[in-house]
Amino acid sequence: MSVITYRQALHDALRSEMLRDENVFLIGEEIGLFEGSYKITAGMLAEFGPKRVRDTPIAEEGFTGAAIGAAMLGLRPVVEIMTINFSLLALDQIVNHAAKIYGMFGGQAKVPMVIRTPGGGGQQLGATHSQNIELYYAFVPGMKVVAPSNPADAKALMLAAIRDDDPVLVLENLALYNTKGEVYDEDVPAEIGKAKITREGSDITVVAYSRMAAVALQVAEQLAESDGIDVEVVDLRSLRPLDRATIIASVQKTNCAVVLEDDWLTYGIGAEIAATISDGAFDWLDAPVRRVAMAEVPLPYAKPLETAALPSADDAITAIRQTLDAVARRR
């Protein structure tokens, strides 16, 4: 185990897969000479050369689709889409092609590819560069979507994604790249489709993924100290498939839940989590499932407005406390 950043963990996973399997290659804008907009691929061009670290023109639809076609012939491309906002330009290729090819042709062609792309607001990048639209992928049968919240998962899920024979979107996060944590030095792929209890607790279940799953842990520690509240944290890790069993088991223990998400509330990822809990744990639930999510506006540039619109640790704390009050009122 070593303590490294989320960025380094992603880099290490990419590098060791490149070394392990020559069918694995990287493709995307500015990943080579520029070393990646967020430097995940730093040093890769120098080590592996332009054939395996392929800089592309600005043509998201073209190069993402080309990666799909290459995967159909057995290569294992790892596409970097600079931020998830730009992936909308490639969405037809991903949703109507990558996710459909295996089924539409009766299982004759696999699409073993990975799409790496960061989401995340809070950097004052404005309305079009700060979105969290993982929903667009998590909604689609044929896709797999993972969303690591810490360096260990970043490495383990990236390894699993590259070795998987289906199109996998790996949701990274701008605000997590510099966060640190313990990571196995060995290559130990995670299991796609499994959530993880990252903190055991008995009072309330907090369900989250990506950046908010990190916030959840921090909030849990804080509330344990300040209020003596024992929070259980479920880190989804995989948005598709969704591990409902782990979520329900936790809520059957705690009898209440709060969902934290960085996307918009209405129709967001949290809607499915809340619906799932309200259904599967119906008779265990002592209060409505509370969702903490972004304000439903195009994210403004001005810092005070941006801060007000984005979910924070304080918002999570408020939601947890109010939910426990609601439970108390009902017992």
Partner: protein
């Protein structure tokens, strides 16, 4: 209809590349057998498509159904130019290409019928024929959707240093969508082994080339990528074949190519389109220019086709098509139990296998009083 008369020579502005790859000026390299084989192929496709149209009206076939009627010479010429190891990507108007690529007509028909023996197991239908064995990499229904995929296949060949080539078919209307631009630029930039073929039938649904393309001489658009290109008479299987051979040779040498084959769409956009937007004259003119009739006359003059042979070929095609329809009709419908078999290639936990009427939590258990006591 295309603005300028089809020519058999490569674009003059492409001399640098022509010297290297154009075989068009050399004497025909096609054997007599091949010349007759083209005819056989064209007739088979014609009969197959006519049968498909009938089966559609009989409700044996559902969804959309786009035919190659009028395009037979192009189909025959292009597919004969490919090596077995080459890859083909097409749009949704691909029955003929699938057959000419060597897929059994009965498996193509079974796919149209949505049966288990269909080339795509009944999952794809008319627009989505796929056969890995013949490297027929799929028909695609999203206009332009096949271009990035085909470009990526060429990238994979290049990545492995292979000698295969990719042929990517598209219609004239498809040259106006963004993917066309992004892909031709990428292919030229990376010297990928791919030939893009524009099947110019003069129309995209009801829209003419002039109404949709500011440069209606579509092959000229290759110049935006310094890519060699040419326009060829799509009603002449020999011309198409030679132009395709030359283009493929260049592609294998790392020079992607844009080939435009000009022919006519004899019927509507799809089986259900009456093509009201087309004048009587246009329709007549198309019939008059029927590539099969014209090619028959030509072979006749060359003494390669006798009336007997014509009858024999017609009968053979009719028999093959009839057998294909019988095979399709006899083939079983896919089992509903297979509904969840092709969502993922790598199984993972928690994949949903719920039918619409199923509860998300089937026997959602209820807690016993103890449990509630315990947890509360």
């Amino acid at each position: 209809m295309p603005s300028s008369a089809p020519a058999r020579t490569a674009d003059k502005s492409m001399t640098r590349s022509r010297r290297k790859i154009s075989a068009n000026t050399e004497p025909p390299t096609v054997s007599d057998e091949q010349l007759v084989a083209f005819y056989r192929q064209m007739v088979l496709i014609r009969r197959f498509e006519e049968r498909a149209a009938r089966a559609y009206t009989e409700a044996k076939i559902g969804g959309y159904c786009h035919l190659n009627l009028g395009e037979e010479a192009t189909v025959a010429g292009l597919m004969a130019a490919l090596d077995d190891s080459d890859y083909v990507f097409t749009n949704y108007r691909e029955h003929g290409y699938a057959i000419a690529r060597g897929i059994g007509p009965e498996r193509v028909m079974a796919e149209l019928y949505g049966r288990a023996d269909g080339v795509s197991r009944g999952w794809g239908g008319s627009m989505h024929m796929f056969d890995i064995a013949s490297r027929f990499m799929g028909g695609y229904g999203i206009v332009g959707g096949q271009l990035p995929l085909a470009t990526g296949a060429a990238l994979a060949i290049d990545y492995r240093g292979g000698s295969e080539a990719v042929m990517c078919l598209m219609g004239d209307g498809t040259t106006n969508i963004g993917a066309f631009h992004e892909c031709l630029n990428i292919a030229a930039l990376w010297n990928l082994p791919i030939v893009y073929v524009v099947i110019n039938n003069g129309l995209g649904m009801g829209t003419t080339v002039e109404q949709s393309s500011a440069e209606p001489e579509l092959y000229k658009r290759a110049s935006s990528y310094r890519m060699p290109s040419a326009r060829v008479d799509g009603n002449d299987p020999v011309a198409v074949h030679e132009a395709a051979k030359a283009a493929l040779a260049g592609a294998r040498a790392g020079k992607p190519y844009l080939l435009e084959a000009v022919s006519g769409r004899l019927k509507g956009h799809s089986v259900v389109d009456p093509a009201k937007y087309r004048s009587k004259e246009e329709a007549e003119a198309l019939k008059a220019a029927d590539p099969i009739a014209a090619y028959a006359v030509r072979l006749h003059e060359q003494g390669l086709l006798t009336d007997e042979l014509i009858t024999e070929i017609d009968a053979a095609a009719a028999a093959t098509v009839a057998a294909a329809a019988e095979f399709a009709d006899a083939s079983p419908h896919p089992e509903v139990s297979t509904l969840f078999d092709y969502t993922y290639a790598t199984p993972v936990p928690n994949d949903s296998r719920r039918l619409p009427g199923d509860a998300l939590f089937p026997a959602a258990p209820r807690p016993t009083v103890q449990q509630i006591g315990a947890s509360a």
